[in-house]
Point group: C2
Chain length 413, copies 2
């Protein structure tokens, strides 16, 4: 018997009608001859309301109690989904994270899964139950409730699929899969049939928030393939899995766009150990997320350091860095908002040289100026004017032949 | 060190401001040198909303899943109370029913407490924590969440107080204690300092819903005294406990009034075994709650059977009984709404004869006609016209000297 783990997010169980639709799909999957484990998030909006209530009660709620509070969101939705399956004549049972055997470390509100003991799930499956598990939560060895942080339900689904040796893990969401680019940016963007974990990780880190990186990393580490698909349509989604040989035939898998970025450059920084650390310590202490970091030497004794932050963090970052720039002896601190990041991602670029060149060709042909460049093994990211980013994405998408019916020109080099 | 169990109902934790007040009172009690265990209900309205959600999802929700769903109400409120204590600089920790060691049978939605293992609570108390326990819930030996049914949080508090050998159990509620009669009916009604379990049971069964009977019965069975007091005022409440010798000095403890009753009489019922059973089986199969039942023989071969139901159940009860009355050969089926029940309760009536006579005197003096009489060892109940019930309560309250400054006339007999 095939075993399928299906994960439904908060929007998919947002009201009783949607809960019924989830129940129908679970039953349908069972009728197709599968054992079914459902992993369910809290109903949309519930977690935010609980956090509001906690803030109204305590300026700094203890994290242990916050976990007890937040876990109630998933407890409610698993009970409702199980009820809905039963109401349709099926046989379902709900399990909390603890009951499902999800053991975590003791780091409340962002616990890591330490171990999964799927014994109870397996027994219930063999008794014919659809097993409805609370996502986003587990318990410590001492029995305290923990939550897994953002994207935690995806993590639960993937970890359970791994522990149960499931034949498939399906992540139902409000998008239909992973696209070669955001279809709102590039209308001809295609849904991918498959994507390598690493590619999805680079896409996720580059603004395509289909899945949280933690869940993808976990899937990669334990080799659990999963499918991202729509809870509102019946079409197949995108399967994320280990890279296969033929994946490299595709030069780049997709293009990611991240808007509302800002660029900060410290120029003429004396080239001494510890300077970079002083810069980024100052920024991260203020909880400002730094994305791209680029350093290049302009002469032998000084260097320029640039990095990007979200536009909304720019004023604070500038304020923090002004004294640091003076202390380390930088000649200038420059800040610019209104920029965007465009990344091309693909494990194929390992074996195809000339990918960077082709990207720069595409942008150059459009008269688009490149402000920063940063590369990883399977990604090339550039910072450009935000005003140019849609056009840049379209040109690049065409240039790498990602659009259906478009012919990919041969890669040089 | 004194150990105090305090129970707060849904209204007492109805919003963040009230939760803060509960937290303050818990801390105050601890500062007075006590170990403190708090038993908390779901925030007012939450349980009803969850039930609505369940009904919208499933016409007949499975009781196991309903328990998982309902338990989230208390999980949220314990976390919030613990946060509020911590926010005030205290040290609190929340425990679900399961974590608190409340073991129940497997009867979902109305489980009975089978056992309490207070080990974890005791350890946390000795570490200086205020322990905040979810009322109304427990778990089965297999680890499934159960709820205890109506009044379940009172039951949790009393059972924990018993298991912990607490020095006091305080039930905080929206009334200030148990009164000699409802002060809205008899303005001179007095708050009692103490009441015997049995008296409180008879009062509860007679419309004074300060506490659910189950919780009182549990307290009686295990000899756990408790105090019913207001969460909004600082005044002492009423202590329920084992009867003591001097309790019998008071002839009657209080008067209870129940309105919106209806009376049904089957007259001329052949006096044969099994007839009563056929009547009441028909009624209880429709989930209609029967209160008083009175039977008296009018001649050697037939009997009259009367009983009361809530007014709203009268049409359905009449409809059900019409065919039964014909089958058993009753000569008449009579139904009357617009009646009320008045009960006088007191363990003192065991040792004082003439209580019934004095009650009838009081009513007779007011020209109030008695339609049914029923007595237990410590209660006399009469059914009268609902229009007369306020006056009847006042006359009886005066007649038995329950009103402050009123002189009790000597009991005859």
């Amino acid at each position: 018997m095939r075993l399928i783990v299906q994960k439904y997010g908060g929007t998919s169980v947002g009201n009783p009608e949607r809960i019924r639709q989830v129940a129908e799909r679970l039953l349908e999957t069972q009728r197709e001859g599968c054992d079914v484990v459902a992993v369910i998030s809290a109903m949309a909006g519930v977690t935010d309301n609980l956090i509001k209530l906690a803030r109204a009660t305590s300026p700094q709620p203890s994290e242990r109690e916050l976990d007890v509070l937040l876990a109630t969101g998933e407890h409610a939705s698993i009970a409702l989904v199980a009820m809905a399956v039963n109401a349709l004549g099926g046989k379902a049972i709900s399990l909390t994270g603890a009951e499902a055997g999800v053991l975590t470390d003791r780091v409340h509100t962002k616990a890591k899964i330490a171990n999964i003991n799927p014994k109870q799930i397996e027994e219930l499956l063999s008794d014919g139950y659809i097993v409805v598990v609370a996502g986003f939560q587990g318990q410590t060895a001492e029995g305290a409730v923990t939550t897994l942080g953002r994207g935690g339900s995806d993590l639960t689904a993937i970890a359970l699929a791994g522990a149960l040796g499931a034949d498939a893990c399906q992540i139902f969401t409000d998008v239909e899969g992973v696209y070669t680019c955001d279809p709102r940016v590039v209308p001809g963007a295609l849904k991918m049939e498959e994507i390598a974990y690493d590619e999805l990780l680079e896409m996720a880190g580059a603004g395509s928030k289909v899945m949280q990186s933690r869940a993808v990393e976990f899937a990669k580490k334990f080799g659990v393939p999963f499918e991202v698909r729509s809870s509102f349509h019946r079409t197949a989604g995108t399967v994320a899995k280990e890279e296969t040989a033929n994946m490299e035939d595709v030069v780049i898998r997709g293009i990611s766009v991240e808007r509302q970025q800002a660029k900060i450059t410290l120029a003429g920084v004396p080239d001494a150990p510890g300077t970079a650390s002083r810069i980024f310590s100052a920024v991260s202490a203020a909880n400002i997320l730094v994305d791209m970091i680029v350093q290049n030497a302009s002469d032998q004794h000084t260097t320029d350091i640039s990095f990007t932050v979200h536009e909304s963090d720019l004023p604070r970052a500038e304020e923090l860095l002004a004294p640091v720039a003076a202390q380390i002896g930088a000649t200038r601190l420059m800040a610019q908002s209104g920029v965007a990041k465009l990344s091309v991602v693909g494990i194929g670029m390992r074996s195809h040289s000339g990918v960077a060149a082709r990207l720069f060709d595409c942008l150059g042909a459009g008269g688009i100026n490149i402000q920063l460049i940063s590369t990883s093994e399977i990604k090339i990211a550039v910072v450009i004017d935000e005003a140019d980013v849609d056009r840049a994405a379209q040109l690049t998408h065409d240039g790498f032949g990602l659009t259906r019916f478009a012919q990919a020109p041969p890669v040089k080099g």
